[in-house]
């Protein structure tokens, strides 16, 4: 017994030794800064001056800040739009691919490829594609006789334009859905067929319940990602036109690195974090109604 606990203690020591790099990183670059950010959000701190404690004042200011509420609206619009469209689109494509079509690998590669092309070069491409006069989308719409909208320059079309770009660059989820679909036991479909279920019945009562945990997981990840997305917005529209694409992440950046008000910037960041937590919690709550787990 002593030998066992001795070994156990040695193993625990190894564990702590091996996780040291991550622990240092946690203290310096993630966990530590998270706590620091919360503290800073209760201060008034202009970059070159020293901070002083103001209690809840920043949060009161936030509550009465119309630009903040506009940013919340834009964030939810863009976040929900790209997460829901992304998941629905990828799921439908995966269903099609799962019909054992010829050229499955080619379709998959084409749909997956844009998702690795992240960053500014792609944003530059989309500035061109969404251009009202010289862009690809309005060119294609023009071919079928539709006068395309002003996309990134029109207040009403700026966020839909960004959502299109975001769906284009989220095709990697198709891989997850396809792997999931291939893991649904064939016997369930056979049993459903014997019970007289048509293709819709099999989809409704086998595919959807069996896939619901994966759909749910992708919704969670999709919302967390798209609610905080802002670097491409910063580059493409800088929040314009007329703050129509001002999302919360961008609002944080503005206060931190353009107005240099670190306290208020941190307050907005925590509001964003709360929004993400609220959306995640709401989805977990809704999940009880529709997500089916095989093993409870």
């Amino acid at each position: 017994m002593t030998a066992y606990t001795l070994r156990g203690r040695r193993e625990a020591r190894r564990f702590h030794l091996f996780t040291t790099p991550w622990m240092i990183g946690f203290v310096l670059f993630s966990g530590g800064p998270i706590v620091a950010s919360l503290v800073i959000s209760f201060t008034n701190w202009e970059l070159l001056a020293s901070p002083h404690w103001v209690g809840l004042q920043n949060y009161r200011q936030l509550w009465h800040d119309p630009d903040f509420w506009l940013a919340v609206k834009n964030t939810v619009y863009f976040g929900a739009g790209s997460a829901l469209f992304g998941v629905a689109f990828n799921f439908v494509l995966a269903l099609m691919l799962n019909l054992k079509v010829h050229g499955q690998a080619i379709f998959r590669t084409i749909i997956y490829l844009p998702s690795v092309l992240t960053g500014i070069a792609t944003a530059l491409l989309w500035i061109n594609i969404l251009h009202p006069d010289y862009g690809l989308i309005n060119y294609v719409l023009g071919l079928v006789g539709i006068q395309g909208p002003g996309w990134l320059v029109d207040e009403h079309w700026a966020i839909p334009g960004l959502i299109i770009m975001s769906v284009w660059s989220a095709g990697n989820a198709v891989i997850i859905f396809l792997a999931g679909l291939q893991g649904v036991p064939q016997s369930l479909y056979e049993a459903a067929e014997i019970d007289g279920a048509g293709w819709w019945g099999r989809f409704r009562h086998v595919t959807v319940p069996m896939m619901s945990p994966i759909i749910f997981f992708n919704m969670i990840v999709g919302f967390i990602g798209s609610l905080q997305a802002f670097t491409l917005v910063l580059f493409m529209t800088d929040g314009g036109p007329n703050n129509a694409t001002l999302v919360l992440g961008l609002y944080v950046y503005r206060y931190a690195f353009q107005y240099f008000e670190l306290g208020y910037a941190s307050t907005i960041a925590w509001a964003l974090f709360s929004l993400i937590i609220a959306f995640t919690a709401a989805q977990f709550w809704l999940a009880r109604r529709w997500v089916h787990y095989e093993f409870k």
């Binding site: 091996f18 991550w22 800064p33 010289y134 048509g198 960041a269």
Partner: protein, 305 residues
């Protein structure tokens, strides 16, 4: 189990079984299947076209002359190919310099990520300790916190350390583990049979030896995945360089592109030439190593089941 993997004789009859009332005859079912398949092809071809067209557009636009870029309505294929757009765009900015900066930052970041993620991933996968559960939960929790929350404190930290306008803020954090990649490697490590590790232990091998001789060689695919994902991420990173780099000489490619866009507002042909030059290496890497990307997705993404 796919039906067609069964030997011929044991395959269940797809035809209507006599003891169950069926709503469809086999013929009708086959017709529905044909229609479905046709519909699937139609949608897939349409969507693939929508996904590939922007990239083709990028290529053809990069070859247009200045006049035909601002032509309305635009043309997909230019009447003249201006190949010199490429050298023109590349030399309009010190892009060669930016390229080398990007290579330096990305190479160091990828190296740091791999080196610093393997040990914690192994510990989380195979070593037992009382605080393991709590630490693992804390690590996963940090993945949910938006980057904006840590933006300001990290900036304050690096300015206190006098590291603004250097590559340290871009490279250093990568040497202290990334939650996503530790998680990914840990998932892979747990799939390696316990017996292999145990028998090595019986033979007197220490943890480092087990890691070096068994875990790492068997995990090369997962490590390659981490390297690729880290490469893509750092190569395209825009925000950190924007915040920390001040001197144009130190700019990485994404900052160079932003600078270029500011100075060549309407020259979409040159912009697309730049995009082409930055994205083509990534497209090539992706096409050559697609299976590693797919593994990365399935290792982290299938967790819902």
């Amino acid at each position: 189990m796919a039906l067609d993997t069964l030997p011929k004789g044991t395959r269940p009859r797809p035809k209507a079984a006599s003891h169950v009332p069926r709503t469809l005859t086999a013929e009708q079912a086959a017709r529905i299947r044909r229609i479905q398949r046709f519909g699937a092809y139609f949608i897939l071809v349409l969507c693939s076209a929508a996904f590939i067209l922007p990239l083709l557009w990028m290529f053809t636009t990069s070859l247009k002359g200045q006049a035909s870029v601002l032509e309305f309505p635009p043309r997909f294929i230019p009447d003249e190919f201006h190949w010199n757009n490429y050298p023109d765009a590349w030399t309009a900015m010190p892009f060669t310099r930016f390229l080398f900066n990007s290579i330096l930052v990305t190479a160091l970041s990828v190296l740091g990520t791999v080196v610093s993620c393997i040990l914690p991933a192994y510990a989380f996968a195979r070593l037992r300790a009382r605080s393991r559960g709590v630490m693992f939960a804390a690590m996963l929790a940090t993945m949910m916190v938006p980057a904006q929350v840590t933006l300001v404190p990290k900036f304050l930290l690096f300015s206190k350390l006098g590291m603004v306008d250097s590559y340290w803020p871009l490279v250093l954090p990568n040497f202290f583990g990334s939650a996503l990649f530790i998680f990914l490697l840990r998932q892979f490590f747990t799939t390696i049979p316990e017996e292999l590790v145990d028998s090595a232990r019986v033979d007197g091998a220490g943890e480092l030896r087990i890691l070096w001789r068994i875990m790492i060689p068997l995990s090369m695919p997962a490590i390659a995945t981490v390297m690729l994902m880290s490469f893509i991420h750092n190569w395209g990173e825009y925000l950190d360089p924007l915040i920390y780099l001040r001197t144009t000489d130190k700019y990485t490619l994404p900052l160079g592109i932003a600078l270029f866009r500011g100075e060549h507002d309407d020259q979409y042909n040159l912009m697309m030439a730049v995009s082409m030059m930055v994205l083509t290496p990534i497209i090539a890497v992706f096409l050559a190593a697609q299976k590693y990307f797919i593994r990365g997705i399935t290792l982290t993404g299938i967790a819902g089941r």
